[in-house]
């Protein structure tokens, strides 16, 4: 019987080439110095840790159990049948059983725990569609902490559902730009109905944290290496659960934490020549934010507002504004440094898909397997279907179903034309 892993995995120890260091930009204050004032201290340590196996604190492990880890790893027989596959097996790890409905909770719990360890009483973050905000709200509730979320005003209005859930959980959700921060007030002065952006929301969150840095901590939802590290519980469990070793492993990419969380433990084994020697790894992104397939590998800010230090990654530029697709979690300009390296080296392949084809794949999956996928996760499904169709008998495919789509009926109804 699989149990919650005792350690997270840090792929930095096994990469074929080293991860480029974070950097400060040429101008302005040191963003690296700023980190100490906004992030829980252990997270900073993890970001710069050389440890291959990072122990998961007992209390975080207990929380992982409480929220439903280990999550299931299942075979999608009905999908195989619907695709008319001959002896091609499709498996998926399902993170949608977590109360947040997605993998995001894996890191939110760890981050909230470390924030509390620092003596903080409040966790602060930004969110657009709300996956990260919801995960943070749950983590804060479970650790008995206050939670403040800056939610882009456009989403605050148009996507009340996840917002209400956050509020039920006790989080204070501010439409961003807000009156709480200087940057918010300035923007509101220009436009009372400013729709906001993730960049503005991050800036507000950071400014808000800096007002009471002993009591508050800022929690980032992806891209940072420590986020990927926390997510490796997914892949570590999956390895234990696999009845057969996959030939192809697939996951979608927003900032890369979902992909890294699922695949890194396997890629690590491959790099250490301990298994998965012939396995292909495929990262699936949205054509709306195709950093891996069309971005440049360069130093860029992980945040649109340039508050955080530069990291070397595939990026479309921090000012890139992706079209408003429903898979809001994939509307991100860059990909985590470790993932970017793996793609650059060809160890991870990347593909990008359009929203329409993705949602059709999601519907096929739902009709076969009875689970409505999150639009983000549906990108992986589309790739799985394409790859499976071309696979020879005996092929085993595994993917991460990072979340359910119960709160994404909007996406389904609009893209699929359901009235």
């Amino acid at each position: 019987m699989v149990t919650v892993p005792s350690h997270w995995y840090n792929i930095a120890a096994d990469l074929p080439i080293p991860l480029p260091p974070v950097r400060d930009p040429d101008t302005g204050p040191s963003r690296i110095e700023l980190l100490t004032k906004i992030l829980p201290s252990v997270l900073i340590d993890q970001e710069f840790s050389g440890e291959r196996w990072i122990p998961i604190p007992d209390e975080v492990r207990r929380m992982y159990e409480k929220v439903g880890r280990p999550t299931p790893y299942r075979r999608a027989e009905n999908l195989e049948r619907a695709l008319g596959l001959k002896d091609v097996h499709i498996y998926y790890k399902f993170e949608g059983v977590l109360p947040s409905g997605s993998h995001k909770l894996n890191t939110a719990l760890a981050q909230a725990y470390y924030a509390k360890q620092d003596g903080a009483e409040e966790v602060v973050t930004e969110t657009s569609a709300g996956q990260w905000g919801l995960a943070t709200s749950i983590a804060a509730a479970l650790f008995g902490m206050r939670c403040t979320i800056f939610m882009t005003r456009a989403s605050y209005r148009s996507k009340p559902q996840r917002r209400i859930l956050m509020q039920v959980l006790g989080a204070t959700v501010h439409p961003s730009p807000s009156e709480l921060t200087e940057i918010g007030r300035k923007l509101l002065e220009q436009d009372r109905e400013h729709p906001g952006s993730l960049g503005i929301a991050i800036s507000e969150a950071v400014e808000y944290v800096l007002k009471e840095p002993e009591k508050r901590r800022y929690l980032p939802g992806s891209v940072m290496e420590f986020v990927l590290i926390h997510q490796t519980v997914i892949g570590l469990e999956a390895i234990e659960q696999m009845p057969e070793q996959p030939d192809i492993v697939i996951a979608c990419v927003g900032g890369g934490s979902n992909f890294g969380g699922f695949t890194y433990p396997m890629i690590g084994m491959k790099l250490r020549e301990e298994g998965f020697e012939k396995t292909r790894f495929i990262a699936v992104e949205s054509k709306a934010a195709p950093k891996l397939t069309s971005g440049r590998y360069m130093y860029d800010h992980p945040d649109t507002s340039g508050i955080l230090p530069l990291i070397k990654m595939y990026t479309l530029g921090k000012d890139f504004v992706p079209p408003p697709i429903h898979a809001a979690g994939l509307r991100y300009h860059g990909a985590a440094p470790s993932l970017s390296i793996l793609v650059k080296l060809g160890i991870v392949e990347a593909v990008a898909y359009e929203q329409e084809e993705v949602m059709k794949a999601a519907q096929l999956f739902a009709r076969c397997e009875g689970i409505i996928p999150a639009p983000e996760s549906a990108h992986a499904i589309k790739a799985v279907i394409d790859v499976a169709r071309k696979s020879s008998p005996g092929t085993v495919i595994a993917f991460n179903l990072s979340g359910h789509g119960l709160l994404d009926t909007d996406a389904y109804s609009k893209v699929l034309g359901i009235q």
Binding site: N10, L15, P18, P21, V22, I32, D45, F48, S49, G50
Partner: protein
């Protein structure tokens, strides 16, 4: 020039980082003289417009140095009373690496450390080593605190003068990183096969004692010294170094 062996020993060396010709050529040379009895090895930075992996303090010295690039290098010739290695970014010299290394050899450097070599010019490691050796320079390697284990092995096999582990995200900025753990990891991988020196944000005798206990072969002082210098001149810088040296030899 006093030659102190850099090797894996029970005795941890004190290494001072300075940016060549900062704050002025004269003061720079004066510093070299003043601290030479305490310092075992100098790491001298070639002033650049783009000290990309450095923290705010070292960045400032690059901008404020009297001379830039090769010109600043010239100043070193015959003027460094101890062994020294040159620190420079590959990015600045990649097009004329041979020329640059030749110059380093000419001015008397024992080795060369390029902090961006392994991150941004990974495919050039062999070339760098070969060119160094060609000019009688010993290659040095800078690694970060999350460096792939197997790649460290590879570096060890290239027999550098030392491997320099950056303890922090960048020079001079102290983050809440559990450096003890990271040092142990890399010391453990390297074993006794190659000297391991460490640097970034080392500033107190306690820091030094901790690192000594961790059996590093050298500690590099950089921003802490520069800050003392800015605060109250060479005297203060000297005092700092003395106190750190005491901690080292105690």
């Amino acid at each position: 020039m006093v030659h102190v062996p850099i090797n894996v020993s029970s005795c941890t060396k004190l290494i001072l980082y300075l940016t060549a010709t900062y704050p002025s050529t004269a003061t720079f040379l004066n510093i070299l003289e003043t601290v030479s009895s305490i310092v075992d090895l100098f790491e001298i930075g070639v002033p650049t417009n783009n000290p990309k992996y450095d923290g705010p303090t070292v960045r400032m010295t690059h901008r404020a140095a009297e001379l830039k690039g090769m010109e600043a290098l010239d100043v070193l010739k015959g003027n460094v009373p101890r062994d020294f290695v040159i620190m420079a970014y590959m990015e600045d010299h990649v097009d004329k690496l041979e020329l640059f290394l030749k110059k380093c050899a000419e001015v008397g450097a024992r080795g060369v450390l390029m902090p961006d070599l392994l991150f941004d010019y990974y495919e050039m490691v062999e070339k760098f080593v070969n060119e160094c050796r060609k000019f009688g320079l010993e290659p040095c390697f800078f690694i970060s605190s999350k460096f792939p284990y197997r790649e460290v092995e590879r570096l060890v096999e290239l027999r550098p003068l030392f491997i320099y582990l950056g303890l922090q995200a960048c020079s001079g900025v102290r983050l809440p990183i559990f450096i003890e753990r990271n040092v142990k990891i890399y010391r453990n991988i390297i074993g006794d096969r190659c000297p391991l020196i460490v640097g970034f944000a080392i500033k107190s005798p306690d820091d030094v004692k901790l690192l000594k206990r961790l059996r590093v072969d050298g500690i590099v002082i950089g921003s802490a010294f520069i800050k003392e210098l800015s605060r109250c001149g060479i005297e203060c810088g000297l005092k700092l170094l003395e106190s750190l040296k005491r901690a080292l030899v105690e």
